[in-house]
Every structure is written in structure tokens, then in C-alpha cells.
């Protein structure tokens, strides 16, 4: 199992879990839209960019296309 944190909450996920799937284990919402709406990872396949998160301090990472790695710090706005 792989330990990560989502907005500071620790959790462990099986190998092969995407960052988006890890976030959804904790909360439904990902980015905030330009007018402040909560959004979910609509397309699930790297197209819509709604699943962007901050990963280890790097903003705008497409969480549905990245796999969790040990110690990843995932934050959503």
C-alpha cells in the first residue's frame, strides 16, 4: 500500500491508484472554477483539466493521469 496525504489527511492506496482516485476517496471536489464552483474530474482521461491539483507544491497537475507515489502531498484549492 502507498501512503499519501490529501489536504493533510493521511491515507493509503493500492499500487496503481491514480492521484484523482485518491482524492475521491476523501472528497468529491477538485479545482475551483474561475467563478468559484467546485468541480469534479469530468473526463477521467486527461482531456478536461478539471481534476487539476497541487502535487508536492507543483500546481496544475492532471491528477487523473498520474499515479500515486509514496509520500505524495496532494492538495486541492
Amino acid at each position: 500500500m502507498i501512503p499519501v496525504t490529501v489536504n493533510g489527511t493521511p491515507l493509503t492506496v493500492p499500487p496503481g491508484t491514480t492521484v484523482a482516485a485518491a482524492v475521491m476517496r476523501i472528497q468529491p471536489a477538485f479545482r475551483r472554477s474561475v467563478t468559484g464552483e467546485s468541480r469534479g474530474p469530468l473526463c477521467g482521461m486527461g482531456i478536461c483539466m478539471e481534476c487539476r491539483v497541487t502535487l508536492n507544491g507543483h500546481p496544475h497537475e492532471r491528477s487523473c493521469q498520474l499515479l500515486c507515489a509514496a509520500g505524495m502531498e496532494i492538495t486541492t484549492p
Binding site: E37, S38, Q65
Partner: protein
Amino acid sequence: MTRTLVIGGGPAGLAAAWAAAQSGQAVTLLDDNPALGGQIWRGDIPARYRRFLDPRITVQTGVQIHSASQLPPADRIILATGTRELFLPFPGWTLPHVLGAGGLQALVKGGLPIAGKRVVVAGSGPLLLAVAAYLRRRGAKILLVAEQAPYPRIAAFTRGLWRHPAKLLEAAQLGFGLRYRPDSWPLRADPGSVTLQGHGVLRCDYLACGFGLVVNTELPELLGCRVENGRVLTDADQRTTVPHIFFAGAGSVDRSLLEGQIAGFGPERGRALHAARAAAVAFDRCIDIAFALRSELLSLTTPETIVCRCEDVPFGAIWPHRDWRSAKLQTRCGMGPCQGRICGPALAHLCGWPAASVRPPIFPTRLENLLDLRD
């Protein structure tokens, strides 16, 4: 030795890479996803297709290419960029529990637990049934599969399946025990629920929704291949209008596998598969007719409904504009990070606007990546 570069590792790309390696070409297969298999398989390649993973193929997954100089030298390129889902905007489609049908399947394949969740699958096309069956196998409670196509068309399509026993069996297995309802589509979504035409309100954890498939034509177009009506033009050998570039895929899995093999083998050996491909194309055409989108769906999008999710542009703001370019310039519609990949096909459907031209980079990238190219 012919050097062949295959871009995209879904069914078409895998079949192309395998066929090219079989014919003695030196093959590199690139994909931007973390695993091979495309969106349909997402790393979970069915056993009967694993033979495509020929050890002679050089595979790179999770790659981003910032300039042509980062590509291996190639005598020919096979593009297998696949499809994405068509999303039609309706009130509430921007809520976090509304996801693509293939999208939710992809997320579950990526490790999202779905057991015990209440899911409504809605939209159009055979993918809905496949997604519903997959999610149910993973423990989801599928409340309803709402198919917008009218009952007589679905009935006629199903009757026609007797000529395709394997597909009839597959449909029967997928659909067994599922509540499948034609003439139904999402009218609006609210937090924790969806309102469906002809069915009323259903409380659900997820609405998985897709109205068909859109070909990812951005890369072929950027490389100069002619694209018409959302399809990359190809000849009998899957060659695009650029002589050394081929295109394969963008239909059913069966068709993608055949197109990929024809592109990979090359004209001579590929010819043996032309008849099988023609049958697959004909079957896809039956699907297109059966699941054509009804005109009532055009009135789902209200003036307040956001069409461009990146820039939060409501449909009403688009109305004064005659074309995509004008709407882009005045409203920022299609100017966000998805570069019009979601709202472009929606507006093509709603307004009949053809897609705007493609410019590099085809996906957003960091400035540092562009700066690195100077050296």
C-alpha cells in the same frame, strides 16, 4: 529497417505496433497515459490481446513531448490518438458528482472504490451498457441506464444483431439484469440527484454521462493531416493526406484493432484485412444511425448553463456570436486549459460551428518546458 513511430497505446496503437514489429519494422510506441491500453482498457488489457505486447516494441508511457527533436527518428508515423466523450451541457452538468461514463470507468480502473455507490448511467451509445456492466461488476448499484435514442431505433438495432451473434451475446451478457431505458436523458442535475426525461428524479452518488465519442484530431491536424467533419481522412491503407503519416482507430474496438493492423503491416499484408475492416465500419455505421442524437437534446442547454467549464462561459453569452473565433475572442469560451476539447464539440453540436484550428502546444505545458527548448 523501417523505423515506425506509433503514438497512442490503445487498441489501435497496440495492434499497429504489434503488426509493424511482426513485419520486421523497428517500432517505438509512445503514450501520455501512465499505462498502455487506451481509455477503454487503461492498463487492464484483456488476455486475448496481450499478444500485441511484442517484446521487440520499445514502449514509453507517461511521456510528454515538447519538440520534434525529442522524438525518435522515424520513416513512418502511425497516429492512434483515440477518442474522448461528447458532453452536452445541461443544467447542473458542472457539479462534482456528474462525470463522463467512460470517465467514471477510467477513474474506477484508476482505483476509485465504487462498491455500494448508486450510479445513474445516461447519454447515448453502446458504451453506456459496457460502463454500467463494468461498474456493476465492481459492486456499484446501477439505478438506471438512460439512453436518449428512441425505443423503435434501439429495437431495430437489437433485431439486426442476429447477424452478429458474438455482439448479440455480448449485449445480452452486459445488459442482463440492468434497467435499460430508451427515450430517457438527463434534464438537470442537482447535488446528489439527477432528473431524467420520462423518469423523474433519482438520488444518486454519481451520474455517469456521455453522448457519444469525439475523435482526438488535434495531433493529426497539427501535423498537417486533413480532417473533415471530425474525422481524419485516410485511404484504404490508413494513410492520411501526409504520405508518411497513418491514422488508425476512433471507432469500436474491433474496428480499431483492424485499422491498427492494416496501418502497422503496411499495404501488402494489410490488404487481407480490408474485408473485415469494411464489415466493422458497416457495423459502426449501424451504431451511428441507431444512436444518433435526437433534436430535443438541443434544448437542454439553457442560457444560464455553463458551456465552457474552463472559463465559466454561459451559453447565453455565446448567442451574439456567429462563429467560434468571435466567441473565443469576446467571451474567452474555449480559451482555457482544455483548449476547447470539451466545449468545442458541444458547441459544434449546439450551434453547428466547425472546430477552430489547432496551435501548438496541443496540451498546456509549463513555461520551463518551453524555455528548455531554447538550449
